[in-house]
Amino acid sequence: MDTEIKNTAPNSGKFWFALDNAAKIYPAIINENVTAVFRLTARLKQPVKIKPFRKAVLQAEKRFPFFRVQLKEGFFWYYLEYLSKHISVEPDDKPPCRKFPKGSLLIRIPVEGNNISIECSHILTDGSGALEFFKTILIAYSGECGTEIPSEYHFNEPTAILAEEYEDAYNRFFKAEIPPMVKRSKAFHLPFSLRPSSRFSRLNAMMPLEQMKEISHAKGVSITVYLTSVYLFILQEIYESLNAFSNHKKRKKLRVQVPVNLRNIFPSKTMRNFSLFVMPEIDLRLGHYEFDEIIKSVYHQTKLETDEKLIHKNISRNVGSERKLFIRGIPLFLKGLILRMKYYSLGTSQYSGVLTNLGKIDLPDETGKLINYFIMTPPPPNKMLKISCGVAGFGDNLVLSFGNITQSLEFEKKFMQFLRDQNISVEWETNR
């Protein structure tokens, strides 16, 4: 069925959307611990002025009406329905990335001191979609604080909303009759034991963007490829330090999932999920890898997997199954069971880590002047994955944010030590 028929325009009163292809898995797997909520934080140079900030949020949510929705259960699928509540600006004194309760919006804005954050459920959008909204808020905020906003950032006319912005772009770029992907074998998982309840903690590592650029360019690769390689290298180090009889040693493939923003490949302006991932891997059955070997391999694997034709293949695997009538006709509660099983067997078990890079964030100078750096906290990892990493660059700063549900900081410490050994000055903070 066409997206156009399923969706109603957000200016038509009580509109609703079908979930996009990537979002469909989340309602089935969300619980108190695996919340699928990620957070973007902007650390300002000055304390937040709360009154102008509230005005800015009101302005921005007018421009993004399709974010004011709640999750509802239909008979066959979940869907998103307009909820006439304002996006809540709240004090940031509770644990980060909490699950959104039933009947609430899927986006919240925690504020504290110099920090403005936005927490958003993956059901609604991905990091790049949320970042557009976040940028709009920040630009409007700088406007409310009295700076001049460049004319291309005036968001006052709600007529400017394109249908493209709330489309399910996967559906648009779906090509039928493309063979499905082959299944991958199970990957190595970190051996650390979990923390007790309210187990999610974060560690932010700040470093100069320039230094990071230098060392990755010296190897002829992008920052994402470099950091992914470090990730794999540290995973290998931990793997090799395990005792020979450990159960974890049975799986000898190390894979890191790296989300790819499809908006850079396909011409879509969608503000909903539109990303896929590549999964560079190293196979330890072939022996120990040197760091340079890893970089070379990751570079080529990434290039290969971001090939447009291969991406098409991925999309068609995901969307194709959703389009089969006998799958569509399964009642929702059964679908939930199946999706949950598939998520753990086909999803998480295939990779050992996640590294998601939001890229270098662009803002008009007037707004950028207010901000020190951005932090991108990935959704709390599940009990297989245990650790994940979000990367965001802004101005002269690059921030890695490690989400961790284990009792160990070994992975993060090794990661930072590796970077320090490359003469990068790393500072870190954690909330545990």
Binding site: M1, K6, W16, K51, F53, G74, F76, E81
Partner: protein
């Protein structure tokens, strides 16, 4: 601009509270807190009329007094007319008895609101008394023991259960209609059963089963709409596949 000591954001110079976390900003609020509170109270008082200020019990008591006046004067007037017309009390004992029972029930409703079970039992007893009196007036045929009281008992039971369910329902809407329909259907079955026992001395169900089946279907439909569809009146949205 002042900084909130709790959450660290900047708020307006003259603010009494932090608009983000609700922290009281002491140096501003020390003397003005009292003024704010009294202002709020004054506005609340202005909005209410004298009648709105009464408690629920006071309102019920007024209703009880008025109904008592009407009913008692009704009893006196009908009795007088009957006595003047017939030189005896004949037909007027019926309206007088009914008024009396009504008055008893109003009284129960006014004073026993908190003890609902006691109220229902006493109300049931008053109606039994009414039937007993009617039977005495009509010459002791004994119908009220065999027919009237069982039916009224069934009616009280279903209505009481219904009230209980309505009070327990978190969202009131179509589900109330469904409950009421089912209760009515059950009552029909009871009534037909009792009538057949009274007239034919055997239990027989005919029309009431038809009623029951039809209300069951309608109730199930209504309950489904209420609990599953709720606001999703748009069926396309709910069933999109």
């Amino acid at each position: 601009m002042v900084q909130c000591p709790n959450c660290g954001v900047e708020v307006e110079e003259n603010a009494n509270f932090c608009s983000l976390c609700g922290e009281l900003l002491l140096e501003n609020a020390a003397d003005s807190a009292a003024i704010i509170k009294s202002g709020k109270l004054r506005r609340q008082e202005k909005l209410l009329t004298d009648y709105q200020k009464l408690t629920g019990f006071q309102k019920r008591k007024i209703f009880w007094q008025i109904s008592a006046l009407i009913l008692i004067s009704g009893i006196i007037i009908t009795s007088l007319i009957d006595f003047i017309g017939n030189q005896n009390i004949t037909w007027s004992k019926y309206p007088a008895t009914i008024s009396l029972v009504l008055f008893i029930n109003f009284t129960l409703n006014t004073f026993l609101r908190q003890k609902i079970i006691l109220m229902v039992i006493l109300s049931f007893l008053s109606v039994t008394g009414l039937f007993r009196l009617f039977d005495i007036y009509a010459g002791n045929t004994g119908w009220e023991i065999k027919l009237g009281i069982p039916i009224i008992f069934a009616a009280y039971l279903t209505v009481f259960t219904l009230i209980f369910l309505v009070r327990k329902a978190k969202q009131k809407g179509l589900n109330i209609i469904a409950f009421s329909l089912t209760a009515a259907g059950l009552l029909c079955i009871c009534v037909e059963g009792m009538i057949s026992v009274y007239f034919q001395s055997s239990v027989y169900f005919g029309w009431s089963l038809i009623v029951m089946v039809s209300v069951t279907f309608i109730s199930i439909l209504l309950l489904y709409i209420h609990y599953r569809l709720k606001k999703a009146t748009d069926l396309k949205r709910f069933f999109h596949i």
